[in-house]
Symmetry: C2
Subunit: 344 residues, 2 copies
């Protein structure tokens, strides 16, 4: 008699199991230690070439991949540099900077991981990052407290480096002096005889960390002079720019520092469409020195930001990792200078 199994009682297929180093050891007929020595290219232990070949063949056959975390536990630390992903879409300047930094850290044998977990903030975020056991954490902007830095360090991070406007206890700080961006723009406009100066403040959230110190820089530069500063909220939308342009006459301004080149392009277009002559009636200065500023007519005067090169920053991170007992360092890394063109 033939037994025909009821399909409903057939057991489900076994779950796919992830091959381990024990599986590789079994297939190659060696110890797990030998597998580890061979696959991590440890030179401290003498293992014959045929054995090495057998281990590699077994690993390949099983599709074995070492576990990064297990490997970093053995090595004492990983080569992962973690950066939180920006919460606002990154502009072209920042994207290029991150790209350069990745290349430079890659040449130093680090791997950059951009960690995007939405809604995590401060020390809670630090705990999530710590779970990946990075050897260094690079923080554009602030948002972390000393407790977060301590959590990261206790989890094996040898360096926490912030790039922002303020220091955090226990972390290296690359201070970005965005006030200098505003200051340069204000000094330039004042020097060209402008006295009634507007400052665009983007309404998009997440940009206050840059726009506030830029405004502060304009204010400080003009303190004690005969110039006035008018704050101009502006959303990155044509409607918002059209509204602002429509009441330009009442505002009675002779110049504007437009936060960056993109807002400058938006506002300049709206002003020109309303018959405002640039720079005759109103001078405009952007910031970031993007290509598009050179393509506008008149060509846009801009503040060029002197960011540290990706290579310099990568070396700084590497030094901080290697000298992890040295006290946190503070460096000023953002310079700024005006590139005068035809809009001011």
């Amino acid at each position: 008699m033939v037994h025909i199994p009821d399909r409903s009682t057939v057991p489900p297929p076994a779950p796919r199991s992830v091959p381990t180093s024990a599986d590789v050891a079994r297939l190659a007929g060696v110890s797990r230690a030998t597998v580890s020595y061979v696959l991590n290219n440890t030179s401290a232990v003498r293992i014959s070439e045929p054995t090495r070949r057998r281990v590699r063949a077994a690993a390949k056959e099983l599709g074995y991949v070492p576990h990064a975390a297990a490997r970093s536990l053995r090595a004492g630390h990983s080569r992962m540099v973690l950066m939180p992903a920006p919460e606002v879409p990154a502009g072209p300047l920042y994207s290029q900077f991150i790209n350069e930094l990745q290349w430079a850290l890659g040449r130093l044998d680090y791997t950059v991981v951009q960690y995007g977990q939405v809604g995590l903030r401060g020390d809670e975020a630090a705990r999530a990052w710590a779970e990946l056991r990075p050897v260094a954490v690079l923080l554009p902007g602030g948002g972390l407290g000393p407790e977060g830095v301590a959590v990261l360090k206790r989890s094996g991070a040898r360096a926490v480096v912030t790039m922002g406007v303020e220091r955090i206890e226990g972390a290296h700080a690359l201070l970005m002096n965005h006030a200098e961006v505003g200051r340069s723009a204000a000094v330039h406009l004042y020097g060209r005889g402008r006295r009634r100066i507007g400052v665009v403040m983007p309404e998009e959230p997440g940009l206050e960390a840059f726009s506030n110190p830029r405004l502060e820089g304009v204010r400080r530069a003009l303190e004690g002079t005969d110039a006035t500063v008018t704050v101009l909220p502006l959303a990155y939308e044509e409607e918002s720019a059209a509204e602002l342009a429509a009441r330009w006459g009442e505002l009675n301004l002779d110049s504007v520092f437009a936060y960056n080149d993109e807002y400058a392009m938006l506002l300049m277009r709206a002003l020109q469409d309303n018959g405002v002559a640039i720079p005759g009636d109103t001078a405009i200065v952007g910031a970031d020195d993007l290509m598009l500023g050179r393509l506008l007519r008149p060509r846009l005067t801009t503040v060029h930001l002197e960011l540290p090169s990706g290579r310099a920053l990568a070396e700084l991170v590497d030094q901080a990792v290697q000298n992890d007992t040295a006290p946190p360092e503070v460096r000023q890394v953002l310079g700024a200078h005006v590139i005068p063109r035809d809009s001011s």
Copy 2:
């Protein structure tokens, strides 16, 4: 007699050690299993509230953070979705798309990690990604072979999803039909009476995956008509655009599909500076529907790309993770339509 140690023989300070769950267990006076149950909020095991409090206090005191990899081994899989970081600086359209996707996956309790390791390619890259044990891998563009997909799956990835122009065996594919972008532009220009059509091909590396199918789409749309197609290599630099504009007369074109809005802005500026009337002498069409196209004069006609929403894509990834025994699916996810403005 007092023994004064020779400084050179004083042992170096003990390396900072990362606290483990064993340390927490010792301090709280409980077993390691109990620590794990409490910190992972396991409800299957009954543990008194005072014990839970003791474990949490000990973990806090020691600064203990669970190891993501160890946790994912226990849970059977992680909640990490890995994406390789783009090798070329991401444009504004792509940055916004990634941002949306991160939010949407975050709401489904995934964490997106962008992995940037320079110079790693194909299956070697897959091995590096596999070390982080992601539950899903999302690949913009191709570059991975079936072996790479297999490595990822054997390492516990439940879904590998590519977004690109071709399928990879074993992976879900979201096919981006960039030929459709070129086709729409060509049909639009032909419909407006243009017959001598130029197509800008960016000289920057990394864009061929988009520019080649776009050109192909233009060619196919005009096959068998009286229109001609001229390929126009262009670097994203003013000099390159000026050179192209200087020989515009010889080229004898009445229109150009400029790859995207940024190249369109660059070329339009150079042509206008050379006295070429837009659209009178030459019609221009961009792509991506960026804000800057609306700010140009004449306003730029563009091809709007219908990308899947971050939310739709996140749900697709989640489904693929949950039904990981289902065969790979193929979907067309890129639509395109022309937004006619004043430049064509």
